[in-house]
């Protein structure tokens, strides 16, 4: 019997198309209905489903649903629902549409069974994230969006080149483990490392994510980097370089978080740090380590979302987002504090929260593989995580000195509800990982985090960190500074290059204009208009229409092919 299967991306595509044209109430319902429909679809698709269509000499496997795709797809859909609740009070119709596209693209990536479908959704991650950054609405967001776009277009082009080389060499279109050591694979890997924010290809993340609106950041934190982790687990398990890149990532974010003053940027640096654990797991490549990477991605989506949402709630209520301007908010924002601490305990690996049951798998995989420095450095990174997210962030936000921050508008109930659901997931998967998180793991290896010594080890690490923090807390006061990251190395040279090529274009344009006169003038005026912010909406609309068209065509072909 052939049953009609709803591709889980379709509800997001439809909701994204409708969102800009309906009223606020309908828009809110759309951003809840789409993830709910996607979850229902995921529940109805039998594990092992692999289907698609042939066109242009390529097998387009638009839906491959195996255990690895499942854990990521469920996390994405569930988190999209939570972030949809969080964004209940958001009013910007285009921002809502972009957030739906982002969630749909994330799910599209993890369900893609061939390299070109993967690439298609990969680009939609970039486009939708770009608009979410731009809707931050500040000049800084506008500029960071362009930097984000240039970086990700370059990364995606490198990846596309790799894919085309791979196809040309007869590597086959299926997205499975890719051969190590070929140029094609190397290029695809680099494209994935850009999206996973692996240093030195990471600066876009800490640059751009904190500049979106509080709603936009809540969405941005979840999808792009974890979709890249999925792609690495699928395509490059056991690549040794990833072990060390991952360890470097885990520690890199820690150093920058010491210096960071912006609360959302501090958390963004800890996305890089946490994704480091996952990348290390991919590099170790054992079943246990890949389970660790997947489990940690699942846990991370919820605890990091919770942290970003609670930081957003502080910004929403006080209008301030810098540690040097916050403090003494524990009383007026006590529930935000409680919820942020649940996220902080989770990311820090406190027993009974989800980070403990997920991070431990990767660390244990390193121990089992007799990788002493890896285990040691990951423990050190755990220290840093607790130091910043568990101690520095809440201490200077909610306690420490009064820097004049006041609650100017109450945190909406919808934000509390979203944070509450995320916190509940962090806690339940932390207490009962067996039936919740571990049941979704892609590989058969069993793991029990609740051994006596393991709990003891973590308590020692956390208590030691707590003492260190207390002794040095005066040193950790935020400073109103900007911290240079590796993007400082390329931003000025690139600017000079683009300035030069811009001038060359200008000269060419003058010659062409002489010949084509008014026609070119018209085009130029159109190009200039692109620089104004208010045309992003029609641009987004065009993009969305194309997206809908392609999604509908793919869906139709998919149904017909069955």
């Amino acid at each position: 019997m052939t049953s009609l299967v709803l591709h889980p991306v379709v509800p997001f595509a439809v909701a994204a198309i409708l969102a800009p044209f309906v009223g606020l109430r309908a828009r809110r319902l759309l951003s809840l209905a789409a993830p709910l429909a996607a979850l229902a679809a995921l529940g109805s698709i039998p594990l092992g489903t692999e289907t698609g269509f042939s066109a242009a000499g390529h097998e387009w496997v638009v839906l491959r649903y195996d255990a690895l795709a499942r854990i990521f797809a469920i996390a994405f859909a569930l988190y999209a629902l939570i972030a949809g609740v969080y964004a209940w009070t958001a009013s910007d119709r285009w921002e809502r549409a972009a957030s739906l596209v982002l969630a749909g693209a994330g799910i599209g990536v993890v369900l893609a069974g061939d390299l070109l479908t993967l690439y298609f959704f990969w680009e939609w991650l970039t486009v939708s994230s770009l608009f979410l950054i731009w809707f931050g609405g500040t000049p800084g967001a506008w500029a960071a969006g362009f930097r984000y776009l240039m970086f990700h277009l370059a990364g995606a082009l490198v990846m596309l080149t790799g894919i085309l080389l791979h196809l040309g060499a007869g590597g086959g279109g299926a997205f499975v483990q890719l051969p190590a050591g070929t140029t094609a694979s190397g290029l695809i890997l680099i494209g994935m490392l850009v999206n996973a924010a692996v240093p030195p290809l990471h600066a876009w993340l800490s640059d751009a994510y904190p500049r979106a609106s509080v709603y936009g950041t809540a969405f941005l934190a979840a999808f792009t980097t974890k979709a890249a982790v999925y792609a690495l687990v699928r395509g490059f398990p056991g690549v040794e370089a990833l072990v060390w890149l991952g360890v470097a990532m885990a520690l890199y974010g820690v150093v920058y978080a010491v210096l960071e003053n912006d609360i959302r940027r501090l958390l963004a640096y800890h996305i890089i740090s946490q994704v480091g654990y996952m990348v290390t797991g991919v590099g170790l490549g054992t079943g246990l380590a890949l389970n660790g990477a997947s489990a940690h991605a699942f846990a991370h989506i919820f605890y990091k979302g919770l942290l970003m949402m609670s930081a957003g709630a502080v910004i929403y209520a006080t209008g301030r987002g810098r540690l040097t301007e916050l403090g003494q908010l524990a009383k007026p924002l006590r529930w935000t504090l409680v919820l942020m601490m649940i996220g902080a305990f989770s990311i820090s690996g406190v027993p009974l929260f989800n980070g403990f049951v997920s991070k431990s798998i990767t660390v244990s995989a390193a121990t089992d593989a007799h990788r002493a420095p890896v285990e040691f450095l990951l423990l050190l990174a755990s220290m840093g995580t607790f130091l910043h997210t568990g101690l520095k962030l809440p201490w200077f936000t909610f306690f420490a000195n009064d820097r004049g921050a006041r609650v100017e508008r109450p945190v909406p109930a919808s934000m509390y509800a979203a944070m509450g659901i995320a916190a509940a997931i962090c806690f339940v998967t932390g207490v009962m990982p067996g039936p919740t998180l571990y049941a979704l793991l892609p590989f058969a290896e069993q793991y029990d985090p609740f051994t006596g010594h393991h709990v003891l080890e973590m308590l020692q690490l956390l208590t030691g960190t707590g003492l260190g923090f207390w002794l040095l807390r005066m040193k950790l006061y935020g400073e109103p500074t900007t911290t240079l990251d590796v993007d400082a190395l390329y931003r000025r040279p690139l600017f000079a290059l683009m300035d030069g090529s811009g001038a060359a274009l200008e000269r060419t344009g003058a010659r062409v204009r002489e010949r084509l006169g008014a026609l070119v003038d018209e085009g130029r005026r159109g190009l200039l208009r692109l620089e104004q912010r208010d045309v992003t909406a029609p641009l987004a609309l065009q993009g969305l229409v194309v997206f809908l068209g392609i999604a509908a065509a793919a869906f139709a072909a998919f149904v017909l092919s069955r």
Partner: protein, 74 residues
Amino acid sequence: MTGYIRDRVVQILAAALVALALLEATVIPHYHPTFPWHHVPGYAALIGLIGCLVVVLLSKWLGKAVLQRPESDD
């Protein structure tokens, strides 16, 4: 220094660390010692405490020397 020793928070945390290390030395040893430091009771506490001091001081020095600039929005 005496200020630190009189600080109630320091006293409590230090006592907890000693207690946790003693627990590891007596009741709950490492279940599967793989690396040399697994035999040292309280090694995780030391990683936490010393690691914290080193990372903070090192990062602060790095920030002052190289990385930090007056705040700007570009």
